[in-house]
Amino acid sequence: MRASTIWRAGVALLLLAAWETVARSAQTLLLPTVSDTMSALARLLMSAAFWSALWISHQALLLGFVSAALIGVPLGLAFGHWPSLGRWVRPHLQIMLVVPTAAVIPLVIMVAGLSLRARGLVVFMFAFPVIAVTAEAGMREANARLLEMARSFGATPAQMMWRVRLPAAWPAVLAGLRLGLARAFSGMVVGELVLMAAGIGGLLMKFQSDFDAASVYAVVAVVVLESVVLMRVVAVAEQRLLGWQDRPAFG
């Protein structure tokens, strides 16, 4: 355990040293040194502009993700519960999963303009398909043996729904929300870089046009860090909620 920590730290230091050496010898505006980036990061974290940009970004994330969850989960569960309905919807959702969502951004602009609503819509479109598809799969694949067991104990259709089908689909719903949040985060970044310069993405663009490479790197570092922390928190929360499972289903 301790040995591996030393190894990890060693490799990290080595990488940083290599970066510093290359940056120093390259002597270019485009590749900042480690120390420049660190001080840019410190400046960034101290500035009010950064925190308000962060808030602006997360408004869209929250708006889009929450609405994707509120619409995607019930819809997915319904598609799974009525397979004949699901059969008609599934091909559409699968295409939405595979085709790059960013390409419909011109449509989003026409519908919602350049606004918080538009950014929220992009986030929504990123998160919705995976949330709905996963909930649908969880509902569809409800264990037939458990349903029969419940029937043998005289469960009514409503009891089957609340006591067997929904609890059985719950792990899939959570997995879908986790995957959906990851995609929503992507959608947030895409919205700010491709749709309109706003929030953190806007800040990034501004630093880039100022040729402030160190600050560009600092913003990227913040975004990467936040996504790592966010995914870790969500994974832990999921495991807590699924204490009865050895590990979450649907990797």
Binding site: V11, W88, P91, P100, V104, V189, V190, V228, M231
Partner: protein
């Protein structure tokens, strides 16, 4: 009984029928509403025909696909190699694990401004965008595949006197390949997204750039026509991989 093709065709038809109905609904509703943001499907098709007839789209298609092929090929080489090393040597996994996790968690588009500062609008920006979108998935599926080989099987190999190297080459690696193949499919979908997103953000050529150009002129029928092309690229590249997978899950996929 011996008609799996017909069965598969029937399956494909029943899978495509819902899409057909949607297209018909789309056409009808769009004609009814007559909104500029919502052109009928026939208008999109005729826009596509015009784009193809003008020939402009081919240059962008080729530019996109070559960036996709180059970036994905590179991601495959690096992802499979690094993933295999991580799967084979726990020490390597210890050290590289955090970077892989970060790469999986962070939206890859965030790196594009940095790529832009390094490579400008050259093709390498697009290639590396595709690379960054897909390489982490490939590596992580490779690792997962190698860990997926059950302990009993590796212990069986040891019991039969296999060396560590033999166990890796003859047991663990072949066992990892199905998982690796499905990882490649998922990564391919990511790569196509990287291709489009990267082009939409900075490129001057490529399908994504076309979307941006027509989008800024609000020529929605053309935007949707290109989206159709993108969908075809996305679906055929993933199903092309599936084809390769079926053919080559014998021996052809050594790194």
């Amino acid at each position: 009984m011996d008609t799996p093709e017909i069965a598969a065709q029937g399956h494909a038809v029943s899978r495509l029928a819902p899409l057909g109905v949607t297209l018909v609904l789309w056409e009808g509703l769009a004609r009814l509403l007559a909104q500029p943001a919502f052109p009928p499907f026939s208008a999109v098709l005729s826009a596509l025909v015009t784009l193809v007839a003008e020939g402009r789209i081919f240059g962008d298609l080729i530019s996109s696909i070559s960036a996709l092929a180059l970036g994905f090929g590179l991601a495959m080489a690096v992802g499979v190699t690094v993933g295999a090393l991580m799967g084979a040597f726990p020490q390597v996994e210890e050290v590289l694990g955090p970077y892989l996790n970060a790469g999986l968690a962070a939206p890859a588009l965030i790196y594009v401004p940095i790529l832009f500062t390094l490579a400008g609008t050259s093709r390498w920006t697009q290639v590396f965008t595709v690379f960054l979108y897909s390489v982490f998935s490939i590596a992580s599926y490779t690792v997962a595949g190698m860990h997926g080989t059950s302990r009993t099987v590796t212990e069986m190999a040891r019991a039969f006197g296999a060396t560590r190297r033999q166990t890796l080459l003859l047991v663990v690696w072949p066992g990892a390949r199905p998982m690796l193949m499905s990882g490649l499919r998922i990564a391919m979908a990511m790569a196509v997204k990287g291709m489009i997103n990267g082009e939409m953000l900075i490129a001057s050529t490529g399908l994504g750039a076309l979307v941006r150009v027509y989008g800024s002129r609000f020529e929605i029928d053309k935007v949707l026509a290109i989206l159709l092309v993108i969908a075809i690229v996305a679906l055929s590249s993933t199903s092309g991989l599936r084809l390769v997978e079926r053919r080559a899950l014998g021996d052809a996929l050594q790194p």
